[in-house]
Symmetry: C2
Subunit: 321 residues, 2 copies
DNA sequence: CACGGCTCTCGACAAAAGTCAAATTTGAAT
DNA sequence: ATTCAAATTTGACTTTTGTCGAGAGCCGTG
């Protein structure tokens, strides 16, 4: 009886405890094990996603500001993390909220596209586990060599792991040195299939990158700070799924973009729910660009950013309720 | 500060505790209230469905028997509550399982049809609360006058309450004394709309009734025991949403059925997910009839019933793995 | 304006859950 | 067959959580 506790026992314990509402010692009796074991099983059940504890994110959408933003930016839904309040670290709050929202948007059987970045990885990292068997998580863009934890493949894998889902990785570099090579690689069946499968996604999760020397593209060596600055002068406004967009949210016509292996903007727009999460206030303009380009239908931001967006949108018919 | 704790506070407390993982005393500090209050808010949050604790019902479908039943009966999914084990009362286990399954099947924005009966009411009664705002629960059939708690309207209302959803009740008797009156009533705009709206449902929840003197139809005075016995001789095999079906799951051609105000079988079949829950072993034949009539796509039963169903289905290619 | 009735709040106690190091068992490799 | 490392279980302890009755603020009513 001291063999493999297996899913079986964990499941039974979780069932009796959470579904039937027995106490831990009652569960222990039923299953003929010690209460300590039950406690352990229950922790495992929570960690595995066999039991799911989720809190409604309603409050954050019900917010007046959120509603106004939805109207102003023509988005399906907006969640605003109140920054002043509660927690020490506001950006954590945004990530926690984003993780909840994400889990709320996922359905069984979904196909999910995941981009990369510190924000996305933070979300993956704090996201609780869930037991979504038929879910597939696909990587939206090629990889970077850098050993950062927020690399595209890491983000994809981690989220897949949390969801008990299949992770479909993308075994190609994000950027190549010549356009020809990129073109050739994109034509490769393995890569082509992956790229083609992106528009079949039901949900996408990404953030937006700024066009400056702090960008991950620079940190990871895909571009030099100087090249970045040059692109900026040419109209680069943001980075999404490794690609550079202009202020209208269109793909910037530049060599870099032609050397990238990533989900085309059209494929991204074909995804029904596009969840964008922005933590840093500095990403105001990149975010505007992404919204302009219709790359985002669901948005999670902090209160401060929300206010700036609203102000920018030209205070559409102030209504004091 | 001793005013309306409102949803606001409950929500904040739940958020900090469940999403951020703070301890109750930490939450109490953040919100400047006593820990006791926090504990209370958290209970309310759980009771309201602001936080959702659900346990995966996977184990009960992963069961070998469940899989075989799915194949044998051509159902989308089957859940089997292990009867021998765990609990004192097996029928409670079935209801708890059914409630979990039900909540797993509901999506935001869904329209849900609910029939009636002791089983359905039991499920409603133990079902945990959820925060599904855009859900509508519609009553599938007319009412009975009897003061039982499991009347159609009670079932509908209770489930709507648990889901924080709108309940659409059906203000007509289940059975009338003449066919003409029934016909007339069915033509009434209010009633007609309700009936017409049933096929738009995404999910239905019902059980199946036996054709005997214990039937609720008899207890509630819709039929006498003698009439029931007569119907049985005429081929009645089960009762679904107040209507009598034969062994093939077709509507029995009888005066009673013509006097009933209820969702037509065709409307029921038009509902994508039809969740049938059967607690009593005695409902074997009625269940067969319902399955034969395609009135059920998702099934929750006890282990004993499952075994009987499998045996009946003629042991399709025994495979020992 | 005083009076219940109401709900919300808090302190203190009881109950339940979480944790840890030691003991036991398992499975595999020597 | 024996040994060892890893995994599992447990009892004892600590921390956290649930609950109760008393008290405090609010509101409509007489």
């Amino acid at each position: 009886m001291a063999i493999r506790p297996a899913e079986q026992l964990i499941h039974k314990a979780a069932w009796l405890y959470y579904a039937h509402g027995l106490r831990q010692d009652e569960v222990a009796n039923q299953l003929n094990i010690s209460r300590a074991s039950v406690a352990m099983y229950l922790r495992k059940a929570r960690e595995t996603g066999i039991v799911n504890i989720s809190t409604s994110t309603q409050l954050f959408t019900d917010d007046v500001m959120a509603r106004r933003l939805e109207d102003a930016l023509k988005l399906d839904a907006v969640w605003i993390a109140p920054e002043n309040a509660y927690l020490a670290d506001p950006s954590t709050d945004i990530a926690v909220l984003a993780a909840s929202v994400f889990l709320e948007l996922v359905r069984k059987g979904d196909r999910i596209g995941v981009a990369w970045g510190r924000t996305v990885y933070t979300i993956a990292d704090i996201m609780s586990y869930a037991d979504l068997q038929d879910v597939t998580v696909v990587q939206l863009c090629g990889n970077l060599g850098a050993p950062y934890s927020y690399r595209p493949d890491q983000c994809t894998m981690e989220i897949a792991r949390r969801l008990n889902a299949k992770g479909l990785n993308f075994y190609a570099p994000l950027v190549l040195s010549t356009e020809e090579l990129a073109q050739g690689l994109r034509a490769e069946p393995v890569i082509r299939d992956q790229l083609a499968g992106i528009s079949d996604c039901d949900l996408a999760l990404y953030s937006i990158g700024a066009v400056d020397a702090d960008s991950h593209l620079v940190k990871c060596g895909a571009l030099t700070a100087a090249e970045m600055a040059a692109l900026r002068r040419e109209g680069a406004a943001g980075v999404i799924a490794g690609q550079i967009i202009d202020a209208d949210g269109a793909l910037l016509d530049c060599s870099y973009n032609r050397r990238v292996i990533s989900a085309g903007l059209a494929s991204l727009r074909a995804i029904e729910k596009r969840l964008m999460v922005v933590q840093e206030d500095s990403k105001f303009e990149p975010l505007l660009a992404a919204v302009a380009g219709g790359l985002c239908t669901h948005l999670v931001v902090g209160a401060h950013m929300a206010q700036r967006l609203l102000d920018h949108a030209g205070a559409p018919a102030e209504k004091a309720s």
